[in-house]
């Protein structure tokens, strides 16, 4: 048996980990905003799929990755509006409406892909941009500072989200609405408007997450490209205790598991592929069970707000 613990393999695993954490980061940070305002958006996976398809399709037709990204964000926004209209304005039960959104995204992306593209085709996605000087550091440089724009932005989004949530009035309003919507309402905060904003922000970021799968990591589209990563992203928000830094930890943990599983297969180590693929899903359930900061859960999470009744 060859020695798998070489520097090359380790750097390969870590490089893959950084790349694979991008969709988790975008989707889970977005979902953090949404959940902090009190809305569980379970449609993240569907948004990622449909946005991922449109990003892919735009690049497929024009070769312009920025157009793809823009289109993905637009799809995210539209689906975010759908989710907020049904869940906030019509006050649907969030678990159900989210599943509806997911089924819609899954079906729609598969339909459009089969009609408009047909076969799995690869495109040229975002290219790595090496950061001068930092990128030349041995070992670390190639892992951290030789990635594409989406990867850098995903990691920059962590402190940015933290700042918005902890240091701005907007962040305070979002959390107030999620903790006690009646109290927030009584001091003049428009509960529905804040929830619309948070859900749509989350959905746009989920759109970016989808684009990062289809035009940054895989550089192709296929049926059910996400294979449940959107749901794992929702679980990461629970795991991260509704804080951006916690979400970062969870995203890294999961992408490490994914990356290790991929490298196990690349190195030809004798583990049945299906059992290796199972790993992240088992990990999700374990993580949901053991590492939950229940105390930090927004009090009004998953609850509809009826003005003047609570």
């Amino acid at each position: 048996m060859m020695n798998i613990f070489t520097w090359d393999v380790l750097s390969g695993v870590l490089r893959t980990m950084i790349a694979l954490s991008t969709p988790f980061l975008f989707a889970a940070l977005g979902e953090t905003f949404s959940q902090l305002s009190g809305v569980v958006n379970l449609g993240v996976d569907g948004i990622m799929l449909l946005a991922g398809f449109f990003a892919f399709y735009a690049v497929f037709l024009t070769g312009n990755v920025w157009l793809g990204l823009l289109l993905a964000m637009l799809v995210g926004l539209v689906m975010g509006l759908m989710m907020s209209f049904v869940s906030v304005t019509l006050k649907a039960q969030q678990g159900i409406s989210g599943i509806g959104l997911q089924m819609f995204g899954l079906g729609m992306s598969s339909l459009l892909f089969k009609v408009l593209v047909g076969t799995v085709t690869s495109v040229t996605g975002f290219r790595p941009v090496k950061i001068p000087l930092l990128g030349d550091i041995p070992f670390i440089g190639s892992i951290l500072f030789n990635n594409n724009v989406l990867v850098y932005s995903a990691f920059l989004l962590v402190p940015l989200s933290w700042w918005v949530l902890e240091k701005t009035t907007l962040g305070l309003k979002i959390k107030a609405v999620g903790q006690n919507p009646a109290a927030a309402d009584s001091v003049g905060i428009n509960v529905n408007r804040i929830r619309y904003f948070s859900v749509c922000l989350g959905a746009v970021l989920a759109g970016v997450a989808g684009a990062s799968l289809s035009i940054s990591i895989a550089n192709l589209f296929q049926d059910n490209l996400t294979s449940g990563q959107g749901f794992i992203a929702v679980a990461l928000v629970y795991f991260g205790g509704w804080s951006p830094v916690g979400v970062l930890g969870g995203a890294l943990l999961f992408s490490l598991a994914n990356s290790a599983q991929l490298w196990l297969q690349v190195l030809g180590i004798n583990v049945p592929a299906s059992l290796a693929v199972m790993l992240p899903y088992v990990l999700t359930i374990v993580v949901l069970t053991v590492a939950v900061n229940r105390g930090k859960q927004p009090a009004a999470l998953n609850k509809q707000f009826f003005r003047g009744e609570n």
């Binding site: 006050k91 599943i99 089969k114 749901f231 049945p272 899903y281 359930i285």
Partner: protein, 386 residues
């Protein structure tokens, strides 16, 4: 109309036992949602340069236009009804079971294992044995997320979805390894499917040259059993009480987490039964793609059937028909059957979005009725006094 239709609205509010108009609202509005979803999909079809009328008539013809179409629709309605009954029981206890796919797989695996291990058992023991094995395996797959919810408050939607993926990989592992058809290995095809079940375990076909099998009766029997369970037994009453008002249930001594766990376990069992019936009635072996999305479509059927066993009978036939028709449509106008998933998603959005609205209309009518009735009653009592 004296028929009472006790339904907990999706908005999680008190149920109201109602008369004809209420029944009409609760059933008709969701079906309007189906029509709206079909209309939106028609617009999508137009964008894809397909005539929606041609596509939909192909769909309808395929589903309900012939004996063969009808029997195929009923074949697909069978697992939908069973999965949906489970979803209904879980939903009554405020638990959302999205784990149908995984539970179907586990049930199918266990049933197949039973039939292949005891092929010499007489038919009248083998068939119930397979069904029991399937039910138990599915129930086990529902018990895990149920226990995690009861004990650790793990969100059951997420855990059941993860259980689906785990079950799928588990099935792939078994079908590519330990359970692979020895015939396929001998012939060198290595298809990812199990050996063929012994003929004694096959469910009888009801109409010659169609797929319609006796499993449809089993599903019907379970619809009645679930109705009796929910409305005529103490446990069923407790499950419904937990869903209607968890706090009041707790005060009156009902064990809320236990009932939620139980409801998810039964839901898993019913999905497992759907899986084993699909194996014994249709494929006669377990193979990839066995679940056919029934785990998700069953949720939609349950929602559209107002989470009531009787309402779910027409709903599951409708969705069975949609699934069959989608394949016909794919052949006729080259629109992928995936369209049906998008339609299902829209239906769920419409149904969940209209739930509270329906509830409020009914509430307003009731208040209005009281406002009208009270002065009359007062006047009547005045008259009797004087």
């Amino acid at each position: 109309m004296a028929f009472k239709f006790p339904v907990k609205s999706l908005a999680g509010r008190e149920p109201s036992h109602g008369e004809g108009f209420e029944f009409f609202l609760r059933t008709a509005i969701p079906f309007l949602g189906v029509i709206a979803a079909l209309l939106i999909s028609a617009i999508i079809l137009l964008f894809l340069k397909t005539n929606p009328i041609v596509a939909y008539s192909a769909m309808f013809q395929g589903a309900f236009g012939s004996v063969n179409g009808w029997s195929q629709s009923l074949v697909k309605a069978t697992p939908l009804l069973l999965v949906g009954l489970g979803v209904c029981i879980a939903f009554r206890a405020s638990v959302i079971n999205v784990g149908g796919e995984g539970q179907i797989i586990l049930g199918a695996l266990a049933g197949t294992w039973f039939a292949l291990t005891f092929p010499d058992l007489p038919r009248f023991i083998l068939i119930p044995g397979c069904m029991t094995a399937g039910f138990l395996a599915g129930a086990f797959w529902g018990l895990i997320p149920g226990f995690l919810k009861a004990r650790y408050k793990v969100n059951e939607i997420l855990s059941t979805i993860m259980m689906n993926s785990i079950a799928l990989q588990f099935m792939n592992f078994l079908l590519q390894g330990p359970m692979m058809d020895p015939e396929g290995i001998k012939a060198g095809t290595f298809l990812a499917q199990s050996a063929r079940l012994p003929p004694t375990s096959w469910l009888a076909r009801l109409i010659p040259r169609t797929m319609l099998h006796s499993g449809v009766y089993v599903a019907l029997i379970f619809a009645i059993l679930v109705y009796i369970f929910l409305w005529r037994t103490t446990i069923g009453y407790q499950i419904r009480a937990v869903g209607l008002n968890p706090r009041a249930s707790r005060y009156s001594g009902i064990n809320v987490p236990f009932n939620q766990m139980l409801s998810l376990t039964i839901a898993g069992g019913l999905s497992g039964l759907a899986g084993v019936i699909e194996v014994m009635g249709v494929h006669r072996r377990i193979l990839e793609g066995l679940t056919g999305g029934y785990g998700f479509t069953g949720i939609v059927a349950a929602l559209l059937g107002s989470l009531h066993p009787l309402g779910m009978l027409p709903a599951s036939v409708l969705f069975g028909g949609l699934l069959v028709g989608a394949n016909t449509m794919q052949r006729a106008v080259q629109i992928p059957a995936a369209l049906i998933n998008a339609i299902l998603g829209l239906i769920v959005l419409f149904v969940s979005g209209s739930a509270l609205w329906i509830h409020q209309i009914i509430k307003k009518r009731k208040t209005a009725a009281i406002v009208v009735a009270l002065p009359k009653a007062a006047a009547a009592s005045e008259e009797t006094k004087s």
